[in-house]
Amino acid sequence: MTTVIYDGSWQGFLTAVFEVYEYRLADTVICGEKFAPANLFGASHKVFTDEAKAVRVWDRLRQKLTPGAYRQLYDSFLSEDKGVEDVLMRYIRYSLASKVAMENDFSHPDILQVKQVSRKVHREKHRMEAFVRFQLTKDQLYYAIVQPDHNVLPLIARHFKARYADQRWLIYDATRKYGIYYDLEKVEEVQLNFTADLQNEFTVSEIYDEHESLYQHLWQQYFKSVNIAARKNTKLHIQHMPKRYWKYLVEKK
């Protein structure tokens, strides 16, 4: 067995796929360097991310797969699920070996798993588009902190850029310690070291716009008012708004 170690990026992963073929590595376990076990049994292979190799794999896959299936691979990758690279590797092997399009072969375990994992990631993408709560700072930046289960910031950038084209915004992933920032022109990834509890470190009046607390308060009031007590259904409520997301929701404070 060979453990293939790469840097954790999508390009790195595609490079790893390339090298699995290049070096004819069989029986591999592909693993991001952050998660690589300290004591490796058997051989290991270190991958250095190489754009040219990544692009070749990408191009090959694009010939083989529909755009939808290609997206599913990428979305599944962003799940950061343990072992997802190996599922993707098997998926890729199957697709490259198959003469016909195989992405709808749902009774095949790897195909089904990619479909399901990508759906899970997609669901969280939607949740983040819903649950981001911007707060307006004194210098007119709308910023939000999130802690998604999966690495979905790359997937939500487009939506926010299209919607909030006339305001500067920053969405920060407190788990992965990076953010996406829109400067009225383009969205960029930014590395920041916010402490996760930035919100609690300053008093509201120091960094926020003077109306920020009013609108937060009004939103809380609105949320309270629309409730119909005669219909209370806590189970359904939590199913739609899982508690792990509450931390950054204004209306849940």
């Binding site: 195989m102 709808n104 072969d105 749902f106 009774s107 095949h108 375990p109 089904l112 939607h126 588009e129 819903a130 649950f131 981001v132 709560r133 911007f134 707060q135 307006l136 709308y142 939000a144 939506h159 299209a162 919607r163 909030y164 084209a165 006339d166 305001q167 009225l184 109306h211 009013l214 609108y215 308060h217 009004l218 939103w219 009031q221 609105y222 949320f223 309270k224 008012s225 629309v226 409730n227 119909i228 005669a230 219909r231 209370k232 259904n233 806590t234 189970k235 359904l236 409520h237 199913q239 739609h240 708004m241 929701l249 204004v250 209306e251």
Partner: protein, 417 residues
């Protein structure tokens, strides 16, 4: 801005608007123009109330002052409650500031009737117009029209709103006369026709001239209160079906009556909200819209009431056992869709996956079909023993196992089956 005053107004006017159950913000596709603010798309639920309903729009009344006296409504003239009203500008500011913080998809504005219908409706249209023109706002706007407003002003509303609704309120004219004596059915049906016509004409025009401005791109919807009066599900669903077929209605909403009054024409305070029935109606509505069912397959003279214990799709299957079992590996998509326990997504997966190999029960389970439910109605490879169960037995089996899974989901945003 006086913080306490605006907070109080919001509390009153959101509270009064919440009985309109529509929360949809989908069906429109407005692009952000010239670096303005907002987009519409599939509609996002930004939050969920404690009763599990989607919060997508800022849903408020402009005012809860009303000259009418509809018995089922909290804002009725004779009700002794606190009254309040926003200014047009206050609604605009709230919408923009909530939207910029990603709290909402847009605005759902409606109002009690003050002075007269046209005067009220003009104010609602003004709010939408200001949002679109002064703020370059491309988020979602739903205007609930005021019954009795003139044709011109309703048509103007369509230029700014994504969706317009006119609530029919009661399933029959008789109930309307009983509970809302100020209102005439005709005042609701006529504007629906006007809108339908205007939407069709706009589409035609758009084909010819690309630059034609959009008109109510998310169409129209309506709502009726159920459980306040004695109508059967048959009457309710036939009416809804008529709206879909004849008025091109996008959605019909069913609002289980929440007792708010001691009026003896109505269920007493404390009567439970008919949540299960409401849910069954939504399920039936889904069958009409997405599953290719005809309304008379769901309810008819002999079965004018939906079965509260089981969903209407299972109900239909049990009444039509001669259509089953169907063969998963060969049957048409439309037939597979009719199998209890198989939803739209699963049916699509089955049709896609069976091209690669014949499917057995193991495959079906993994794909996400509730085999325990579907097994009485299908054939697949490595078959269960097919027995000739009677419909009543099947119903018993299904009800006795895993009850929770088939229990009604209490919300209009259901997808189960």
């Amino acid at each position: 801005m006086n913080h306490d005053r605006i907070t109080e107004k919001l509390a009153i006017l959101a509270d009064a608007a919440k009985y309109d159950v529509s929360c949809s913000s989908s069906g429109s596709n407005r692009k952000n123009k010239e670096k303005g603010l907002g987009t519409t798309g599939n509609g996002i639920c930004h939050a969920y109330t404690e009763d599990g309903r989607c919060v997508s729009l800022l849903k408020i009344l402009l005012t809860n002052v009303c000259i009418y006296d509809c018995a089922y409504c909290v804002s009725r003239k004779s009700n002794d409650i606190k009254r309040a009203g926003f200014t047009v500008q206050e609604v605009v500011d709230l919408t923009i500031n909530f939207y910029r913080r990603n709290y909402i998809e847009g605005l759902f504005i409606s109002s009690g009737i003050f002075t007269n219908a046209d005067y009220t409706m003009e104010r609602l249209v003004l709010i939408a117009k200001k949002l679109r023109t002064e703020h370059k706002f491309s988020g979602y706007i739903h205007i609930k029209s005021i019954p009795g407003a003139s044709e011109e002003i309703i048509k103007e509303a369509g230029l700014y709103a994504d969706r317009l609704s006119i609530n029919v309120e009661m399933p029959t004219e008789k109930s309307l006369a009983l509970l809302a004596p100020d209102k005439k059915r005709e005042d609701m049906i006529q504007p629906m026709k006007v809108l339908k016509q205007a939407i069709i004409e706009n589409k035609e025009e758009k084909k010819l001239f690309k630059k034609t401005p959009v008109f109510a791109p998310a169409g129209q919807s309506t709502q009726m209160v159920i459980g306040a009066t004695a109508e059967t599900d048959l009457e309710i669903l036939y009416l809804a079906n008529g709206f879909y077929k004849k008025m091109n209605m996008r959605r019909v909403y069913y609002s289980g009556y929440v007792p708010i009054s001691n009026d003896n024409r109505l269920p007493a305070i404390g009567t439970p909200v008919p949540i299960v029935r409401e849910n069954r109606l939504y399920q039936a509505d889904w069958l009409l819209r997405f599953y290719g069912f005809n309304v008379d397959e769901i309810v008819d003279k002999n079965n004018p009431l939906l079965d509260m214990e089981i969903d209407p799709k299972l109900g239909w299957a049990l009444r039509n056992m001669q259509c089953f079992p169907i063969d998963i590996n060969t049957a048409e998509y439309q037939l597979i869709l009719r199998v209890p326990g198989i939803g739209v997504q699963s049916a699509q997966k089955i049709v896609a996956a069976r091209r690669f190999r014949r499917l057995g029960y193991g495959h079906l389970k993994k794909i996400g079909i509730s085999v325990n439910r579907a097994r009485y109605f299908i054939q697949a490879d490595n078959d269960y023993e097919v027995k000739d169960w009677q419909p009543a037995q099947i119903k018993q089996f299904i009800l006795s196992e895993g009850v929770s899974k088939y229990k009604a989901d209490f919300s209009p945003q259901i997808t189960l089956f």
